[in-house]
């Protein structure tokens, strides 16, 4: 395990932070700019996974396992959220025959 950890540590931590930030930003932009509800969900998953990656990287670099335990929680949470979210999207499609979020503006004043 020691050699594995050392091999991973050859990549500096900053690279991981930068990578995760970029992935997170791409996720945020996807949530804000896309019209398809399923694509928005994918972007949300992207954000969650970028955080997972960062947590794991820190866990390796600090030698503390609690980061990876937290990753497990996040993965379980993401799964549950996807289940509920996709159920809602299916209901929306059944009622309005579209999943374009610009069409869903019934709550306008």
């Amino acid at each position: 395990m020691e050699s594995l950890t050392n091999t991973i540590k050859e990549v500096p931590l900053n690279h991981y932070i930068l990578l995760c930030s970029i992935i997170f930003s791409i996720g945020v932009m996807g949530v804000l700019l896309r019209r398809n509800a399923i694509v928005i969900f994918m972007s949300v998953e992207l954000m969650l996974n970028s955080v997972n990656l960062l947590l794991t990287a820190f866990s390796v670099y600090r030698g503390d396992a609690s980061g990876q335990v937290f990753v497990f929680f996040i993965m379980a949470l993401a799964a549950a959220e996807v289940a509920v979210g996709l159920a809602i999207i299916v209901m929306i499609y059944r009622n309005t025959n579209s999943i374009d979020i610009n069409v869903l503006n019934r709550l306008k004043w």
């Binding site: 945020v28 949530v31 804000l32 019209r35 979020i101 610009n102 869903l104 503006n105 019934r106 709550l107 306008k108 004043w109």
Partner: protein
Amino acid sequence: MDKYIWLIPVLPLAGFIINGIGRNSLSKNTIGFVASFLVLASFGLSVAAFLQIKATGVPINVTYFTWIDVFRFTVPFSFLIDQLSSLMLLIITGIGFLIHLYSIGYMKDDEGFGKFFAYLNLFVFFMLMLVLGSNYVIMFIGWEGVGLCSYLLIGFWYSNPSYADAAKKAFIMNRIGDLGFLLALFLIQDTFGSFGFAQVFPQAGLLHAGNANVVLITILLFVGATGKSAQIPLFTWLPDAMAGPTPVSALIHAATMVTAGIYMIARSNVLFTLAPLTMHIIAIIGLATAIVAAIIALTQTDIKKVLAYSTVSQLGYMFLGLGVGAYTGAFFHLMTHAFFKGLLFLGAGSVIHGVSGEQDMRKMGGLKGKMKITFITMLIGTLAISGIPPFAGFFSKDEILAEAFKQSPTLYVIGVIGAMLTAFYMFRMLFLTFYGKFRGTHEQEHHIHESPASMTFPLIILAVLSAVGGFLNIPEVMGGGKGWLANYLAPVFAKSVELGGTPAITSPGTEWLLMGISVGAAVVAIVLAYSKYMTKGHVPVADTEERSFLANLSYNKFYVDELYDFIIRRPLDGFSDFFYNVVDKLGIDGLVNGIGDAPVEASKGFRLLQTGNVGFYIFMMVAGIVAILVYSFVRI
């Protein structure tokens, strides 16, 4: 007798309660009988009180309970009957009784019969409270109360808006005077520490003449008196008060309420003697009122208005008497005036009753054949008021004029001119009403009749009093010693005489000369009136015709009401408009409505956030998170 004093005011009060509650259920005979009998009973008790005071010379003082007792401010509820108030009691209850009797006949066709007698009884109650009070506060209760009853009775036929207006006018002008009275009360408490007569007057006697507090108190008291007794500038309510039934005019506006001011000043004579400035003011205003009212009466065509202005004028004479220090003379004139003015008003009511409600003298005439008792009694009353001896008015008016002469011949001369005017317009009234040919409609002419006994009996009694009442106070030059009234009232005015110094002495020759001049002047005026209205048969012109400038001035009451309207009512209306439209509508309503509108406008702005656009919501969420992060990093 002391034990029964409380009955004197309480009996009419009981009459008010009985007649008030039973005004629609009791029969008219019962109401009239109850009301009149209770006043008669009060009269009987007043006679007993008078006899007791006459015999013993000791005033009756009874305290019932302590009404107000706060820190240094105590007002006991107590009655005082001394020589002055005993005579007032006799006048109020005696003439009150006669007028109650008269009203039984006069008001018998009116459906408000019970209400009328209830109000009359209430008035008698309050007037008695006024004169019985042993301190200024009890007097003020009566003072206010008679103002109230005057309002109720003037506006008795309230469905007519101009009558209701007249009642309001009377009450409001009274109230203006009452403000002066109240301020005087406050000053009295402040200066003397008490309201009771027995405390105030001895203390006042120790002050020196011209004391600033006393002068101010007396001026304010006089303001109150001008309101109540219809002097300049608060006299215009009295002619308008003729809107009330004639018995009301006789009782309230001739014999009792308007004399309250005179009584109050006579009671406070010590205070007034110490304020020569106020005395001058009173004399001048009294004389001015006497002349102005007499001039107005010269051209009036409504018989009651002539008598109303005559009342204002005679009250002016009484104030003139008070102003020159002739307290006994002024009070004597008060008594004789109550007799002959009450008589004249009741007689006018009889005349109006006889010509089926007509009040315009231009439509009367020739009544003396068919209304003999009314004619003879009114003739006596007119002779009395004109100051012809041996009738009552001569003695009382002459006493005032003689005292006025002692102070200043100018006052006397103007007073005599006023007496001439009085004789002229009174005989004008007599000639126009009773002599000549009847100028009304045929209908009225058929119905001319003498009034029933319930109305003529009081006329006869009052005529007798007007004829012989003068002998109550025969002047020194005619009999030996001072008159009976002067001697009787001496204890009340003794302190004033002491403080005022000895009056000027005039020789008997001068006194006879003065008397002769005034009688002669009155006779000249009567002859002038005779020549104009009898020989030449002049009848006053109709309202639409032109009049000379002076006649116009007199007929329109010197435009005093219009002047008040311009000076006082319009600025007040302007103020009122400003406060209503600007301060209330714009300011206060704007503020309150604005507080209501502000959330509405704010919410109109906020709801624009609800675009329904999911992307917008998500964007706002992200923006918020970024803001929180920035905030937490910048702070820390």
